[in-house]
């Protein structure tokens, strides 16, 4: 490989090639460059960017949903296009989990000065978003996903692909954890909650971030004993039953403690 293959110009050409591969009609590139662990190109309306440390790609068309319209084809067509995107990017079809189409809906209402409803419109279906999850040998990779919404012309209006490489060691550890679960591994009890589900898989840092942590883990969802309390506890355990660290987005120093918060003074008199 010559030094030209690693030049800035070559890198930006690769991003342009990526855009074409994804079916993006980027037009005239107005801006290009890199910042932190991201590199990208931008036209008047469209951004295409990727991470430098992970198979993570973003496409955003500013006109999408407005002038850009949204895809009128069937759900199956949208899924098929999504699968082709993954294929073009070298993702093995064996890693694609059960695809889903999420349907966005909208509604509006008018009120008077006293807040009384004057009119309430019916909900309308809006755009559809394909969500293709990832699974390895049936084990979920919870943090990986392709999210794709297409314009009226079938071009990416919004695309987020987050599909980082996983080491064979992490995958092997996930297999071990699945074996433990199948053999009756019991999660630690948590105050105020009971176990709802237990499953082995892989978690990693989310799409937008500056670091990439990857862990094999057993995901345990706990349901509150008091049924009305919401936001369910979800913990990830390693083989020793200890919680794995939350995959980071930043390499942050520990926060300085705050508090105790000063209570307001009681009014005099």
């Amino acid at each position: 490989m010559t030094s030209q293959e690693y030049s800035d110009e070559r890198e930006l050409k690769d991003v342009e090639r990526l855009a074409r591969t994804l079916g993006v009609e980027i037009g005239e590139v107005k801006e290009s460059g890199d910042e932190a662990n991201f590199v990208g190109i931008r036209s008047e309306q469209i951004l295409v960017s990727k991470r430098l440390d992970s198979q993570t790609v973003f496409v955003h068309d500013e006109s999408f949903g407005g002038d850009g319209g949204s895809f009128g084809g069937s759900d199956d067509e949208l899924i098929e296009i999504s699968r082709r995107v993954l294929e073009e990017l070298g993702v093995p079809s064996s890693e694609i989990g059960e695809p889903a189409i999420a349907h966005e809906a909208t509604q509006a209402a008018q009120v008077d000065q006293e807040g009384r409803i004057i009119s309430m419109e019916d909900p309308e279906q809006r755009r559809r978003v394909a969500r293709l999850p990832r699974a390895i040998e049936g084990m979920p990779v919870w943090s990986s996903e392709l999210v794709l919404a297409l314009t009226e012309r079938g071009r990416p209006g919004f695309l987020q692909l987050h599909w980082p490489e996983l080491s064979s060691e992490v995958v092997q550890e996930a297999r071990r954890l699945r074996h433990k679960v199948e053999k009756g591994w019991r999660p630690p009890a948590q105050p105020g909650a009971t176990v709802e589900s237990v499953e082995a898989g892989i978690i990693h840092s989310p799409a937008v971030g500056f670091v990439m942590d990857v862990y094999a883990a057993i995901r345990v969802i706990y349901k509150p004993r008091r049924k009305t309390i919401g936001r369910k506890l979800m913990l990830h355990f390693d083989r020793h039953g200890k919680t794995v660290p939350a995959p980071r987005q930043f390499d942050l120093p520990p926060d300085q403690p705050t508090g105790p918060r000063k209570k307001p003074r009681a009014p005099r008199g």
Binding site: G66, A109, L235
Partner: protein, 266 residues
């Protein structure tokens, strides 16, 4: 000294000031005698949210955790939401991460809640529709990010959220039940911040609505819906704010004559 124009932060000299953000994150419920379980992901969620907004050039107003997040911070009564050190109506942007309350299922008259576990400012539970009024009087809140359970149920949105908008621009939350719930995760709030803060030019800089539709379904159960609602002076204004308003837009506060909302379900 600062004074506020219609939605734009200006000093008396006419210089711009950065918008302010606050986080109220509650992990500890059980140790403080509240119904649990505890929610460990709320703390890194708040930390990462703040990191993104700091990188985006915003100014931290307050960052209370656990018992220092008071129920009164969210209530208009007695100016609790204008408490100088942490009221939710003091900054322009507020993230709450903690418990909510879900009905099974909710009805059109079911209330939505924010549930803290404070060492002051009781009660811990705030009924959004009757007790939250954001952007009124001296209030500044423009963007309310409520990452709890079922704080924005679709069936009751008109009763619970229309009255809340008194200057507020956009709010996000979830609609669900106790079996279609949001899970304790730091991903939603932090990725919302990543996409809305404009911190890095090569990360898509999305409107609040688009960002929540993109990230709000992370770590939620099947049937749970991510919801965004905006107010506007007319129909086009409400829809435009719901779909296109970015945190950095510096739009003026809407006159809430129209509401537009949008949702997507897992």
């Amino acid at each position: 000294m600062q004074m506020w124009d219609t939605g734009i932060g200006l000093t008396e000299e006419g210089g711009r000031v950065p918008l302010r953000y606050s986080t109220g994150c509650v992990r500890d419920y059980v140790p403080n005698g509240c119904p649990g379980p505890d929610l460990p992901a709320t703390i890194p969620e708040g930390a990462n949210f703040r990191a993104w907004y700091a990188l985006g050039g915003f100014q931290l107003f307050s960052r209370w955790e656990n018992g220092d997040v008071w129920g009164s911070d969210f209530r208009d009564a007695g100016n609790g939401d204008l408490e100088p050190n942490g009221g939710s109506d003091k900054p322009e942007i507020y993230l709450f991460a903690g418990h909510g309350t879900c009905q099974n299922p909710p009805t059109a008259t079911s209330p939505d809640f924010i549930v803290a576990c404070g060492n002051f400012g009781d009660p811990d539970s705030t009924t959004i529709g009757t007790q939250c009024r954001w952007g009124n009087g001296a209030g500044n809140l423009r963007f309310a990010f409520i990452d709890a359970s079922c704080p924005m149920d679709l069936v009751s949105i008109r009763n619970q959220w229309f009255p809340v908008f008194r200057g507020l621009h956009v709010a996000v939350g979830h609609s669900g039940t106790s079996t279609q719930d949001a899970l304790d995760s730091d991903v939603r709030g932090t990725q919302l911040a990543a996409f809305t803060s404009g911190a890095i030019s090569w990360i898509p800089h999305l409107s609040v609505g688009d960002a929540w539709m993109a990230v709000g379904l992370n770590d939620v159960q099947s049937g749970c819906c991510a919801v965004v609602i905006a107010a506007g002076s007319d129909r086009d204004d409400a829809i435009d704010r719901r779909d296109r308003e970015k945190v950095k837009d510096e739009r003026s506060d809407p006159t809430p004559r129209w509401f537009a909302w949008r949702w997507v379900c897992r």
